[in-house]
Symmetry: C2
Amino acid sequence: MLKAVQNLGCSSGFLSQLWKKAHHNTACGGLSSIAISTNPLSNSASTRTRRRHATTTKLDSFISPVFSTRGTRSETRSESNPDATTSPSSSSAGNVSKINFCQWCGGPTKHDIPDGEEKMRAICTVCDKIAYQNPKMVVGCLIEHDNKILLCKRNIEPSYDLWTLPAGYMEIGESAADGAIRETWEEAGAAVEVVSPFAQLDIPLIGQTYVIFLAKMKKPHFSPGPESSECRLFDLDDIPFDSLAFSSIFVSLNLYIDDIRSGKLKFHYGTINKRPGSSPSDMHAFSLDNHLQC
Amino acid sequence: MLKAVQNLGCSSGFLSQLWKKAHHNTACGGLSSIAISTNPLSNSASTRTRRRHATTTKLDSFISPVFSTRGTRSETRSESNPDATTSPSSSSAGNVSKINFCQWCGGPTKHDIPDGEEKMRAICTVCDKIAYQNPKMVVGCLIEHDNKILLCKRNIEPSYDLWTLPAGYMEIGESAADGAIRETWEEAGAAVEVVSPFAQLDIPLIGQTYVIFLAKMKKPHFSPGPESSECRLFDLDDIPFDSLAFSSIFVSLNLYIDDIRSGKLKFHYGTINKRPGSSPSDMHAFSLDNHLQC
């Protein structure tokens, strides 16, 4: 088929025919793969933890409007990452009123909606520059080794002593994949290569987008960095779903296990809608909405 | 098969078997799909424009280390988007030395590497807060309608009068998909729904990551917003590759056409490495590296 396409070239009619073929033969789920929450932020019985004790539950039921597995912990800070002290909290993400001065000229700011825009911004009263705030990307790796997944126990707040995938804020000057590789080295002492994109999970409430890659270790070696107290490979059946640090990690691991179960790894896009004020590790306090998979 | 999996449940041995199956049956390309640049930023004959006149060229040859099609224009500003006056330029993206004052307390900053970090940051000399800079996400839609693609002619700099997909900076408080839908409404007057994630393209030099969704119009209506002088549906064979605004749009459209030609739409991840100082619309001045597809 590929050969035929090459010889036929790029005529309009031919492309039109190919269009229909591509859309019928798409790797991406298209409209049929959309699962939209109808009951956000409520509790559901379709949980990973429960499913481990009731394994006849419909396999994809956890890709449901709501994830909810366990009780809350005592943290009050929002889902965030260790390598940015200014990481947004649920109360401050995008809170323009906290920007009081222009970082370029030092002038005081006013908080107003600029001409032609719709959102409140911090505008310098001296140089007129606008301090735009945008979501931050958190990049990380889901590392597979000998049918196990590498997790790190956090040695820092938030979510101290809870398990996570190695991940952190993407830096300017690097790609998401390079950032994920760097964070894995810093947090798990593991040199990895990225195998495939796996998930993009937006968390609008806290102004974060998680980008998770599947990766593998170049050598079977890992050791905890300063931000981790322990790194360990877990069998998929032994993943500590009761002690995960962040909803994004919970979702990523659940999606991965469901892919493994279904026999096909996919790329996932979705929105994690968190309940305002909830802790990063409260798995009762969010829903996965608009889930699309390729 | 799905039924069998449900009944078998989640025993460790069973998951181990499924693991191998999933990795052999992956929708994502895995290692075999990686195409890494060996000659970044050089010129290549594998171009979309040339291929339109030499259609027996190997179909996937454009997913090569280098894209290069046409001459440069006169713009000197880097690839950027219209809705942020502080959008990073090639010379200022991540340029911490331009942050002179603390936006929270107004104190002067010093530029130093904080303890436990490796990158230079702007640190407030009064309150000690660090002003982290992170890449910005640009979200947009590739809208398919009657086998055509909707493009907008830019009515603003940079890349004035050149064609683009509707796209702009993602805002805090929205998902990437919602941001792409909003930008499409603002720039093309089209109400769309997202069908599938299509591409993530990082541009490290300018601190941007493009996230492009496939989308369709809810009603067959569009009209240019203030930032566009014209919106038009293009046959795939008539896409104005000689007059595109940004390398990210060039790459997205090329990947899309190749997917249509191959009969299978995929999700693409890659890094666009631009030549420092090049214009946003110079298609001789970048390479697509580490291309992965699912």
